[in-house]
């Protein structure tokens, strides 16, 4: 889990404040139309104040100008503080990069070159204590590597040539042994470079939904620009026909104040902070996404392909039960099974030994190593066991293995099969276990049930996913019977038995053709096509370079369950944007009730009543036109600051259906957005009146 990071850490705060001013550069502001309009408004108002243009009260306009500048600065600050959290991490990553010296092998000779000069295809060599100079694939040797620089995990990992653990990352350190690495990334494109640019948000591209939202926000800005610009003309007409001069109050700075209050500055100001912090939340969960687009796509996923092993079940199958056939003692079966498994170094074999010890206190003490000949497992015989010489020159032939193999073996020894064997085998298979048949000589003794152990809490996790509308599909090499049982036990929606890389790819294509968005995890080179085809492909960091390049995310912890968190982060990102947009627009209602009566409370002023007719719209009972306008502007600026923590954290996410989520967010951010500003503006107005600023 991420560590709790306070927003207001001084080491993040000071640079962010500085950045807020640097970002006032119009070239930066241009990228965000809402803030650009605000900036222009601040400049124009300042010009009015400084050169004394217009008939408005200058002490009042100074305050408007002040708060307009603050609105822009607050928005810049929000972005800067979101970026700041990544910058520290980027700095330490850079350090590991710049100091690296590579030992390049060229035509058999070793050269010392700077890591930054390495090209794709170069071969380098690394011995213990060397920093690996760039991303690559181990082509020779095996080594333990400390990857804590990127994963934060201090335990070293094994990297070896061939197989699925051949990828190494630049900036990590070889702890022991000696490997040759073929570089697979050109300078500037390495994993560390990618991470640096990601955590800094430097190369941040707007995601598709962010672009669509920006269009809506820009259009709203234009609508309000028109509404306010024409209001000036309408006010002139109204003043004319009423025989009044409204130029004291309907001034350019006041209209700018109205405009800035109406345009969606809240979401406009926080939009990029939301995007950056979404990426940041991923990185703090040790997931590197190659693009923001991938993070957003994760929120849209409705089909999840999960590998059985490691994700749904603990890594290996375990023996859970000895079932003896009729006429055989359970303890005899357990003893034979234990002896037959002693040489079996696999986790399955060990679990049989352990189970026999637990159930029957057997410790295989009778076995003298020099009397025993171990028979290892081979793909041809599909069984293993031991031949033990006992007194009288006889042999105990103990075997355990797949049902068919043992049956054939026993028959060849001239034995017969117990009548209840098949039924026992089948019942284990049906319940999702793998049956191993045990024999001694020509007698079949019984069956060991090996079972996948489903991870604790995983069923609840899948239940949450189902509520979110995500279908989970288990991928396994098991036979359909076993697969179905495990899928049922773990609460999955569907499974793919006897899966091959090709059938995985095929399945993803089928789901996509039906309109689904598919996510999957993978690590091996043969997963690469499926990872590339999936809408969100999460490669394990322990995997091969091919897999890491094919996916659009890399999980540094190599924890396949992480996919669920990635989906949540993707959804949270969109929800935060949507909720703050709703909040921002809903706020405008209250602002109209503050500013319109303030502008026109004197229109058609009649002495008998004391105010104009539109003063009736001043439902908040704000003190004076000036205080009302100023309160709205101050509220508009402060709400940005008040919502920075929400933008960085994201709105609360719970795994419930879409309509529940919508109801909740509409209630909080829609209704809240309507009501909060009434309260806030009224309070600020009271405060302003109390301190006598207007």
């Amino acid at each position: 889990m991420e560590k709790k990071q306070s927003l207001m850490q001084p080491e993040l705060l000071m640079p962010a404040i500085k950045d807020a001013f640097i970002k006032l550069d119009p070239r930066v502001q241009m990228k965000n139309p809402v803030l650009f309009v605000t900036l222009i408004g601040a400049v124009v108002t300042s010009v009015y104040v400084i050169f004394g243009i217009g008939a408005g009260s200058k002490s009042f306009e100074v305050q408007i100008a002040f708060w307009l500048w603050f609105t822009v600065l607050f928005a810049n600050f929000a972005e800067a503080i979101a970026e700041g959290r990544g910058k520290a991490q980027a700095a330490s990553l850079r350090k590991s990069k710049s100091t690296t010296v590579a030992r390049l092998i060229r035509s058999g000779t070793e050269f010392q070159v700077a890591a930054s000069e390495l090209k794709k295809g170069d071969i380098v060599v690394c011995s213990s204590n060397d920093l690996i100079p760039g991303d690559g694939e181990v082509v020779e040797g095996i080594a333990s590597v400390d990857e804590s620089a990127i994963t934060g995990e201090s335990a070293p990992v094994i990297r070896e040539s061939g197989g699925d653990r051949s990828a190494v990352t630049g900036g990590t350190r070889v702890i022991s042994d000696h490997i040759k690495i073929r570089i697979t990334a050109d300078p500037g494109n390495s994993f560390i470079d990618l991470m640096i640019s990601l955590v800094e948000g430097a190369k941040r591209q707007k995601t598709p939904n962010e672009i669509a939202l920006s269009i809506v926000l820009s259009a709203l800005t234009i609508v309000f620009l028109l509404a306010v610009a024409t209001l000036k003309i309408f006010a002139d007409y109204s003043g004319d026909v009423a025989g009044q001069d409204l130029s004291q109050i309907v001034t350019v700075p006041v209209l700018i104040a109205l405009l800035v209050c109406l345009i969606p500055t809240t979401i406009g100001g926080l939009l990029s902070a939301i995007g950056i912090s979404g990426m940041d939340r991923l990185i703090r969960r040790n997931v590197i996404a190659t693009s923001g687009r991938a993070v957003e796509a994760a929120g849209d996923i409705d089909v999840l392909l999960l590998d059985k092993t490691g994700t749904i079940t603990l890594g290996n199958r375990m023996a859970t039960e000895f079932t003896a056939v009729k006429g055989v003692e359970q303890s005899r079966l357990a003893e034979v099974a234990q002896l037959a498994s002693l040489s079996d170094e696999t986790a399955e074999g060990r679990s049989i030994v352990v189970l026999a010890k637990e159930r029957f206190k057997l410790r295989a003490e009778a076995l003298q190593p020099h009397d025993a000949v171990f028979v290892p497992f081979t793909a041809q015989t599909r069984m293993s066991g031991v031949d033990i010489s006992i007194l009288g020159g006889k042999m105990r032939v103990l075997r355990k293995g797949a049902g068919d193999a043992i049956k054939a073996f026993v028959k060849s020894q001239g034995g017969s099969l117990p009548a209840d064997l098949d039924q026992k085998i089948e019942s284990i298979a049906k319940s999702g276990g793998t049956p191993l048949v045990v024999s001694e000589g020509k007698d079949v003794l019984g069956v060991i049930a090996l079972k996948d152990i489903v991870k604790g809490g995983i069923k609840e996790r899948f239940g949450e996913l189902r509520k979110m509308g995500i279908r989970t599909i288990m991928i396994t090499g098991d036979n359909p019977l076993t697969a179905a049982a495990i899928a049922a036990e773990a609460g999955l929606d569907d499974f793919m038995a006897q899966a091959t890389p090709e059938s995985k790819l095929q399945r993803i294509r089928e789901e996509q053709a039906r309109g689904h968005l598919v996510a999957m995890t993978g690590d091996g080179t043969n997963d690469a096509p499926a990872l590339a085809q999936a809408d969100v492909g999460v490669a394990m960091n322990t995997g091969t370079q091919a897999a890491r390049e094919a996916g659009n995310m890399v999980d540094l912890d190599s924890n396949p369950t992480k996919l669920i968190e990635i989906v949540e982060i993707g959804k949270q990102l969109l929800m935060t944007r949507g909720s703050l947009t709703t909040f921002s627009v809903a706020n405008d209602v209250a602002k109209y009730f503050a500013i319109l009566p303030a502008l026109f409370s004197l229109l058609y002023f009649s002495k008998s009543v004391g105010v104009g007719p539109l003063a009736a719209l001043n439902v908040m009972g704000l003190e004076s036109p000036q205080s009302a306008i100023l309160s709205a502007v101050i509220f508009n600026a402060l709400i940005i600051v008040a919502l920075i923590p929400l933008a960085l954290k994201g709105v609360a996410y719970r795994a419930v259906g879409a309509s529940e989520v919508l109801k909740r967010n509409l209630f909080v951010y829609g209704l809240g957005g309507l009501l909060v500003p009434f309260l806030g503006i009224k309070m600020i107005d009271a405060l302003l009146t109390a301190i006598g600023s207007v």
């Binding site: 598709p208 939904n209 672009i211 669509a212 269009i215 809506v216 820009s218 259009a219 234009i222 609508v223 309000f224 028109l226 509404a227 610009a229 024409t230 209001l231 003309i233 309408f234 002139d236 007409y237 109204s238 026909v241 009423a242 109406l262 957003e296 929120g299 849209d300 409705d302 509520k467 979110m468 509308g469 995500i470 279908r471 309109g515 689904h516 968005l517 993707g570 959804k571 949270q572 929800m575 944007r577 949507g578 947009t581 809903a586 209602v589 109209y592 319109l596 229109l603 007719p613 539109l614 009736a616 719209l617 259906g657 879409a658 309509s659 989520v661 919508l662 109801k663 967010n665 829609g670």
Partner: protein, 563 residues
């Protein structure tokens, strides 16, 4: 509000709701080319149409081809009508010997009828020959309505088809709308109107002596045939200047009831047709419910506003500007219906409504003419707001917004915002030009906020392709004829073109199957959210303007000041 008023409102909504599925289903069959009971009667007309244009009923068009066909068709319709008005002196069927129409009025009127606005700067009975009325105006009444339906059909196909390129054929849609829907229904409705006393002849005007001994000229003409389509096609252009307040245009309470009903029928029925087309009737009913709810709100609001006692007259439910044949509530049901539906026929003078009831009529148009709205145009306008609502809601539930399985992305939002932005901008800028120019102000009959409302209403009505007038503004000047003409063009095509582009973009997309993570668009929650988006979008844009018109006028009226 009295119980009998409420009963009237409930009665209208109930009758409309009952008729919606039947007509909706009929239209669905017609537009998908299925056989209906009218096929044996008029099927040969449809086939004749294809022979004439050299097309076929199986023709398919991309959005570009569809739009091109539509634009050329509308352009020639405009040109024909424009020239007809300029040459009516040398053409037959002009018994009153009306002069040729001025270029600017002809320009305005041609655009007005082509865009289904039917804004009338002229008075029908003193300007237009029978030929102009029949061959020009009435023809555009039919085809402008059919054009609206065609665009709606294209959009509905864009939503319901997947991974395709074509949206149907403009010629086929146009042909079927006219032949199976508008012509037969108008024919029947016209017969009923004639039976009730609406005139239908080619006679010259009749001079009569009234009981009081005064001389009066009674206008004549082929009125019934044009009035039927005026309502059915949500055109609203009256045969006579007083429109449906004229006894020869709307003689009895029964015709009044039918006229309100007929202007709502097709827009309401299309919600059902839409539900059928996208494969879920509930989707259609949700949209219908939203429309009906807003209609009921505005009717209640208007009646409540009329019921506010005007201290100057010391009475409420004032009859000023209303017909004694219909009374106040019937007039308000008419005024809300005609403004929500972009019809624009009137049976009372909106200028004489109480300030807030007039404001509601105006605000109804400002909502974008999407509550029922114009024939076809209301539905495609509504779908624009549906997509906007889906976008906001979709983000709030944490998924890329999807409508009926189609992803709503940047391109769609660009088009949606353009379609919403362009009319808003036209109304605001047009009004600003009107109130700041001497040419604009010289047409005003009233000063103060009421004068402001007159100009605001004119630009709102033109841009919304509504066509109703607030009255009190002399719009038959080159200034207003040209400006309002442009407003009508923008209001029609700056929505229609993005809609067709969006249809072209949506039709290429895949349909993602729904899951519990998909946000449903056929629920009460969505309906409420949709209403909120429509009303808030309209309010945020126009409240500043409205506050200087009807709202301030209302408060001034309470203080005993009127304009």
């Amino acid at each position: 509000m009295e119980l009998v008023d409420l009963f009237q409102i409930v009665f209208y909504v109930a009758v409309l709701t009952l008729l919606t599925p039947g007509l909706g289903l009929y239209m669905y069959k017609v537009f998908s080319g299925e056989r209906t009971f009218l096929t044996p009667l008029v099927g040969w007309v449809e086939r004749g149409g294809y022979r004439l244009t050299g097309s076929s009923s199986r023709e398919e068009m991309t959005w570009k081809e569809y739009l091109t066909a539509l634009l050329w068709f509308n352009f020639f319709g405009f040109l024909f009508l424009f020239l007809l008005q300029l040459m009516q002196t040398i053409l037959p069927l002009n018994p009153q010997n009306f002069a040729n129409v001025s270029w600017h009025s002809a320009f305005n009127t041609a655009i007005s009828f082509m865009t289904n606005t039917n804004w009338q700067g002229y008075a029908g009975e003193t300007t237009m020959s029978y030929l102009t009325q029949m061959a020009g105006l009435a023809v555009q009444n039919f085809v402008s309505a059919a054009t609206g339906i065609a665009v709606f059909l294209a959009l509905a196909r864009g939503i319901s088809r997947q991974s395709s390129k074509t949206l149907g054929s403009f010629w086929v849609d146009l042909n079927r709308s006219v032949v199976y829907l508008l012509l037969p229904m108008s024919f029947v409705f016209a017969l009923v109107l004639v039976q009730q006393g609406v005139v239908q002849n080619f006679s010259p005007y009749v001079d009569v002596t009234t009981l009081e001994g005064a001389k009066q000229t009674l206008p004549m003409g082929p009125a019934a045939s044009q009035i039927a389509i005026k309502h059915l096609g949500t055109n609203g252009g009256g045969f006579f200047n007083a429109n449906s307040a004229h006894p020869f245009e709307n003689p009895t309470p029964l015709t009044n009831f039918l006229q309100i009903l007929f202007l709502l029928l097709i827009p309401a029925g299309l919600t059902y047709t839409y539900g059928k087309m996208v494969g879920s009737i509930k989707q259609g009913w949700t949209i219908y419910a939203v429309m009906a709810a807003v209609w009921v709100f505005t009717m209640i609001g208007s009646v409540a506003s009329e019921a506010v006692s005007n201290p100057l007259l010391a009475e409420s439910m004032s009859m000023e500007g209303k017909e004694t044949r219909f009374g106040v509530v019937s007039s308000l049901i008419f005024s809300t219906a005609t403004t929500l539906v972009s019809c624009g026929a009137v049976n009372a003078m909106h200028s004489s409504l109480s300030p807030l009831a007039g404001g509601i009529a105006m605000f109804n148009i400002m909502l974008g003419e999407v509550i029922f709205g114009g024939v076809g145009a209301g539905m495609y306008g509504m779908l624009i707001f549906v997509v906007l609502t889906v976008f906001l809601a979709g983000l709030m539930v944490g998924r890329t917004p999807e409508y009926l399985g189609k992803k709503i992305e940047a391109r769609e939002m660009k088009l949606v915002m353009l379609a919403i932005l362009a009319p808003c901008a036209t109304i605001l800028i047009g009004t600003a030009i009107g109130v700041s120019s001497p040419l604009g102000l010289s047409s005003l009959a009233n000063k103060g906020p009421h004068g402001f409302s007159e100009i605001l209403y004119a630009f709102t009505s033109a841009t919304g392709n509504n066509g109703s007038a607030f009255a009190g503004l002399n719009a038959n000047t080159p200034f207003y004829n040209v400006l309002l003409g442009i407003a009508m063009l923008v209001g029609r095509f700056a929505v229609l073109v993005p809609v067709l582009m969006m249809a072209g973009s949506l039709v290429q997309k895949k349909i993602s199957p729904p899951s519990t993570g998909t946000f449903e668009t056929d629920t009460a929650l969505f309906g409420i959210l949709l209403i909120a988006v429509i009303v808030i979008a309209g309010a945020l844009t126009f409240v500043p303007a409205l506050s200087l018109g009807p709202i301030v006028e209302h408060f001034l009226m309470l203080r005993g000041q009127s304009f």
